[in-house]
Symmetry: C2
Subunit: 420 residues, 2 copies
């Protein structure tokens, strides 16, 4: 590499540097664990991760042995009943949560609702719920819905403006650790500390962080967290989400979705809900087991991987994207939106440019899959487990080609509607 | 048959009668559509339906073509975005709902919460929420949770006692159409009418009915309904549930789980939630697509099947169970708990007996899978699509054998804990 990919930004990306970096990549072995079409450079793993090669075999077992043959006995005999906790603990190890605090199930939206209601109930009498006004829509929508149930005011601020809005009226703050559009990474420890200093409760949405970098929920003193598993965790389309309840809150976490799986003694078929004393209280109804078994197999790919190495490679690759854009794409009006500082950057890079939608389509036609975020962003997701330096270099060359030749102006790439 | 299996109860079940009935069974062809282990008689399809043979191929396509190859483009290219509505409409056709009123997703517990909150919001100022005190626990637990949010009193009554509890204080009534323990079927039309006569809102839980009999939600004027898809609909373990919102209520249905998929224009990434005007407003977050694609394939098995024929065969088979129990098992203390009248019977039969747990285990050891419901019920689920008259006869013979020989007393079948 032309410079240290960890502490600085390489100044002049080249194919030779990229190939060299691949040759010494300590995560190079992981690519074989994924199925990706030949010739495709997939920069959308931050939306839907590639399929781990272990999944089809696991699914065949789930169908032909567990469901079809063992049938109802699988609840005990094949561990279906324990799966939400087992998978929860596996996710917990990737987000800095000791066992017994993470439960897998449902969607991020449902888990946001669960945890925000519980968080609001921990601070009766306080009047505001703060969320990021540029955060992912579902986070804002669920915040609105929960605030309405508890007659709270929703305050929308960018995390950088948070300190001036925190006071003793703040009940709960809900933020994403990584901004889904810009890729900005926030300081989880400092923010959590500031929120706790006014006595409020903190919820972290880890959707764009988990699996791409170390996260330390226990260490930073997080109260609640949620996240999806189909992005950097490669769990498959619509793979179930998760919820983190800090151990110190378990006994006092008063959740609204009181499905029978969360009961202290579910098979007593009691008339009244009494929550489990463990994180099992976060269970709701019967989980989507086929999807969860696919996720369980996908997580095998993290068993022998260091998230510090994942983070190191992620930063090197995003450095390379930024460096290439600065050096070769600025003349086409391309602006790097993602922070340049390593400690403020997640694992995707957003480039603002004219005709971003059409450029994205032209790239897809060249076998480079990124995604478009309205109105003017091309978002490139970097998944260190299956992307090589050479692929990232080639993707940037393709982007240069699309811009330099004006290929994006082909009517085939024109936007047909506001829905993408 | 010894008597008319529809209007009466056969008096003397015999193998010859059973084999004759199989020979003329208009649904006999459907058995080939399911994978079941050789020699197993599966009477637990009311808990987890058998695997339709079409599922493995559909799942291979979902994994190797849709996820692994088409990746993120599957949202549009393979119809992932439309799947909750498409599958919802397919389920709708089985429960008497015209298109555009049923949405597939999440679990029954989540859908109960969604619809009960919306129902309560339709009747502000009323003070009670009525549910069945002997209904399935999750229905009672979610009713408790929603009642707490709206400061309502929960009244628990058996549906037969409902009329004396209905008054102008009643906001919402939530009942199962078929009792999960006794198999009692309630009169949906009369009950819905009585509830509407006091101005309350009706929610039907169809878990133990859908797929086993015709249901006529539109015709009876139901307001809301929910149900699971892993019992008689054979959608697979934890297959996603569904919610029915009557068309006349759509615009006024104010749901609490405001995930971004339910937004009017989800890809505008609006800051504020504005629900879709269609049943799409019942979408929450990203659905578990692998589980939903398996369900979609499973529903193919209903495409050319008449639910009236399913119901006819279901009643014939449950008649045969009841008749056998009356004639040959009463001497062992077996009592038929399920109503004998056809119009009061669902598609499972519950037999009260001494040592029900041990008897259930001894039957399983003989390849007959039913299930135990505490404290003293053996529950036999009848799935007309894959059960034959001969199998039901043989299952009852096995039960006779277990009781007559005292085989249930084998210590191997003893109950080790309260959890089954």
């Amino acid at each position: 590499m032309s410079s240290d990919a960890i502490s600085g930004v390489p100044l002049s990306p080249s194919r030779a540097d990229a190939e060299y970096a691949d040759g010494i990549d300590p995560l190079g072995f992981a690519r074989r664990r994924f199925c990706l079409p030949d010739g495709l450079i997939y920069l959308d793993g931050n939306s839907l991760g590639a399929m781990p090669a272990a999944v089809p075999e696991a699914m065949t077992d789930a169908l032909t042995r567990q469901w079809s043959t063992d049938l109802i006995t699988s609840w005990n005999g094949n561990g279906w009943w324990e799966l939400p906790s087992k998978v929860g603990n596996r996710i917990g190890r990737l987000i800095g949560a000791a066992d017994g605090q993470v439960l897998c199930g449902d969607s991020t939206s449902v888990q946001l609702f669960q945890s925000l209601v519980a968080a609001c109930r921990m601070r009766p009498g306080r009047g505001t719920l703060i969320t990021d006004g540029s955060g992912f829509p579902t986070d804002q929508y669920i915040a609105e819905s929960v605030a309405r149930l508890f007659d709270l005011e929703v305050i929308r601020v960018h995390p950088s403006e948070l300190p001036k809005h925190l006071d003793d009226r703040t009940a709960v703050v809900s933020l994403s650790l990584v901004d889904y559009r810009t890729g900005e990474l926030f300081d989880a420890e400092a923010i959590t500390g500031a929120i706790h200093s006014v006595g409020a409760v903190m919820l972290w949405d880890l959707c764009h962080a988990a699996g791409a970098m170390p996260v330390s929920l226990d260490a930073i003193g997080a109260d609640f967290a949620v996240g999806c598993t189909y992005k950097y965790l490669n769990g498959g389309p619509g793979a179930p989400a998760y919820i983190y309840l800090a151990e110190r809150h378990l006994a006092g976490t008063d959740l609204p979705l009181t499905g029978w799986h969360g009961h202290r003694s579910p098979f007593e078929l009691d008339q009244h809900y009494r929550p489990a004393s463990s994180v099992e209280r976060a269970r709701i109804g019967t989980p989507p087991l086929l999807s969860m078994l696919a996720l369980d197999a996908a997580l095998d790919g993290f068993d022998d991987v260091s998230l510090y190495e994942v983070r190191t490679k992620s930063l090197a690759l995003t450095d390379e994207v930024i460096s290439y854009a600065d050096r070769f794409l600025a003349e086409f009006g391309v602006e790097v939106v993602t922070p340049r500082e390593h400690d403020r950057r997640g694992s995707h890079v957003s480039l603002r440019m004219p005709h971003a939608y059409e450029v994205c389509q032209a790239l897809i036609a060249r076998g480079v899959v990124g995604d478009f975020r309205a109105p003017d962003l091309l978002r490139l997701g970097i998944t260190p487990l299956y992307l090589s330096h050479t692929e990232v270099f080639e993707a940037m060359q393709a982007l240069h080609d699309v811009l330099a030749t004006g290929a994006y102006a082909d009517p085939a790439y024109a936007r047909r509607s506001a829905v993408t």
